[in-house]
């Protein structure tokens, strides 16, 4: 057990898996010699050699394509996309090819590739260093999609993804790489002393498909993922309402039991995500919850999300859900 931030936890996951399985390779732009622009792979090329941890040309489509080829030929490639916003040149390879190859070939070929990528706002990244594209992958059968929020689940989910025989997209909240983020840009804590920063140095997994109950309560269910888990936590505190806070962790497949149990208990639900509202994954959660738990609901499922606009630079704190906005939504949900 050691105290780690998310950068270190990701590094540790990669380290464990490169050690454990010689079929694991890790590559991406600036991910080899330099150790990644966020330092997540620092030291790994030195330790494992440049045939296992290496830089690639600046081409996300090419990265995904070689990952496909390696995957169907017996390796477990782990590819870094430098920013989640830059995954789109690889979109065709991911949604039309990697996601479908097992099915299309009658199970003759499959592709256990992991894409890990820093996502989300909060670092003044503007339009193209801030997006949370999770829902653009959740609509694609054949893919699994997870979104980490803490050092503990960042490591455990990444290892689970690498060991999974299906392709997995792992989103990491870059805003939280070095500390949880409670929605106040002027108060920037580190992961020091945070319970979820206690991370085993050796191999473990966080099961794909399982949510984490971050707070327990009984009046309202708040569902969040990524950096928004921490913001929602601050909001719940601010609201004074007793809430279950569900850190979804895994979007496809999502944790039906955890969600249903909580909604049946509270009858109320607020969903929080950074991505734009329309067709965000909150839409799927809200649609599913009202489908499955209609008779338990005492108020509409409320969504607190990024606005339906591009992600701004200077005004990003007005764009992302803030504790105040979330708290207000919790109150509104309680009042209906």
């Amino acid at each position: 057990m050691a105290e780690m931030n998310i950068v270190k936890a990701v590094n540790s996951a990669l380290d464990n898996m490169l050690e454990k399985d010689e079929n694991v390779l890790f590559f991406g732009q600036d991910a080899g010699y330099f150790g990644g622009v966020f330092g997540t792979s620092e030291g790994l090329q030195n330790k494992f050699g440049s045939h296992r941890v290496f830089d690639t040309p600046l081409s996300e489509g090419g990265i995904a394509a070689i990952a496909f080829g390696m995957g169907i030929n017996g390796l477990r490639p782990v590819a870094e996309i430098q920013f989640a916003d830059y995954i789109f040149p690889a979109y065709d390879q991911i949604v039309n090819e990697i996601a479908k190859v097992r099915h299309r070939s009658g199970g003759e070929f499959w592709c256990p590739v992991t894409f890990r990528t820093p996502a989300g706002g909060g670092i003044r990244g503007g339009h193209h260093h801030s997006q949370s594209p999770e829902s653009q992958f959740t609509h694609t059968p054949g893919l699994k999609v997870v979104y980490a929020s803490t050092p503990y689940n960042a490591k455990g989910l990444l290892i689970a993804a690498i060991e999974c025989n299906d392709p997995v997209i792992v989103l990491e909240p870059k805003r939280c790489y070095r500390g949880p983020f409670y929605g106040d840009p002027h108060n920037v804590p580190t992961w020091k002393d945070h319970p979820e920063a206690q991370v085993p140095e050796s191999h473990y997994t966080v099961e794909i498909g399982k949510a984490r109950l971050a707070l327990e309560g009984n009046e309202c269910t708040v569902i969040a993922w990524g950096a928004m888990v921490h913001v929602a936590q601050a909001a719940i505190r601010e609201s004074g309402i007793s809430c279950d806070l569900i850190d979804l962790q895994s979007l496809v497949p999502w944790d039906k039991e955890a969600i249903e149990a909580s909604i049946e208990k509270t009858g109320r639900c607020v969903i929080v995500h950074e991505a734009p509202k329309t067709s965000g994954f909150g839409a799927e959660m809200a649609a599913s919850i009202q489908e499955r738990c209609f008779w338990s609901l005492e108020a509409p499922v409320n969504r607190v999300t990024g606005w339906d606009t591009p992600f701004p630079h200077t005004t990003e704190w007005d764009y992302m859900p803030s504790p105040a906005r979330i708290a207000e939504a919790i109150h509104k949900t309680m009042e209906e």
Partner: protein
Amino acid sequence: MAAKKKRVATIQVPTAPARPGDKPKFAAWTHQPGDLSRPDPLTCTAADTTDHAHGLVRVLDDDAKASGPWNPDLSPDELRTGLEHMVRMRIFDDRMMKMQRTGKLSFYMRSLGEECVAVAQTMALETQDWIFPTYRQPAAQFVRGRDMVSMICHCIGNEKDNILGRQMPVHYSYRTGRYISVSSPVATQFSQAVGVAMASQYKGLDECCITWIGDGASAEGDYHYALNFASVFKPPVILNIVNNQWAISTHANLASGSSNFAARGLSYDVPSIRVDGNDFLALYSVTKWARERAASGAGATHIEVLTYRAGAHSSSDDPSKYRPKDEDEVWPGGDPIERLKAHLISIGKWSEEQQNELEEGIDSEVMAAYKEAVKFGDLANGPYPSSDSIFTEVYEDIPWHLQEQWDEMKRLRGE
């Protein structure tokens, strides 16, 4: 702000050399066997292949005589095997096309006029090498020994389709023969093949991966990714552009502003060769050369296979709507089957009678296979793979939401 200006044309759009009603236009071939040296595959640089990329490697001349440094000196048996597979492909295609017209298949794509590509190139490889085809190299499966019945079962989408009716016909997958699942989006396999080869390279195995892309599809980003990654990482991959001069209705002059596809490889520092794609011997030999490079760790080879799509793009289009009807007859590259047959006859190892016998034999073989296959159903009449196949192999295991949906489907089926 900007002044109006006289311009001759506004947007310049190349027109096809010939459209219906026009006389087909082909530049006569000046290239002859013996024009081009055969460099040492292990030490050869991209620059050493400049002439090969701009010229045309041939072994069979217009009189079907073999000569020159690229002559692979194949045994008559090997040549006959090649001929046999090409004929098999053609007869198979004819049968499937007929069946498509009767609704037994939803769709079909022939290799007509390009049968040599998959046959010669696959024969030049080792059995452990990976084949990453487009829809125009199904003949590789014959070379790798695939049972024809199972191929037909796929095409007619019946119960025994090994891909369970999930993709359209001609989207074969044949793992035993290391023939990787075909997928409809063009070009994607080209860059993926580089990854397949990198894995072989990483594992230190004596394997390479061969792949193909169409002249049209080479305009996709995947073409660039493939060449560039291959150039940087030097994996054992053989990257072929099949320039059959058409992409559906679009002539190759819209695929590239340059009429030469081979030379592109040079600018990536990948040795590149242009080869007569209807010349079995030349194509075999160039591929063998590329395979030697791959095996030695010298890296990728880029090959433009010059041929002509003699048939329609697919069962869905009528080429007389967009190109002269007689283009295929005028095209200087001839027919790959006729050329190899003529060569075998000219060296005294084959005869018209043997050819007739071969064709009749294969005709019966295809008919027998067809009859066997339709026993398991066809697209017009079923039985198809069970609709359960919709839910399996989406993931390794069935996640709960798929299980729920599957259960719902079963309930709707009355189970």
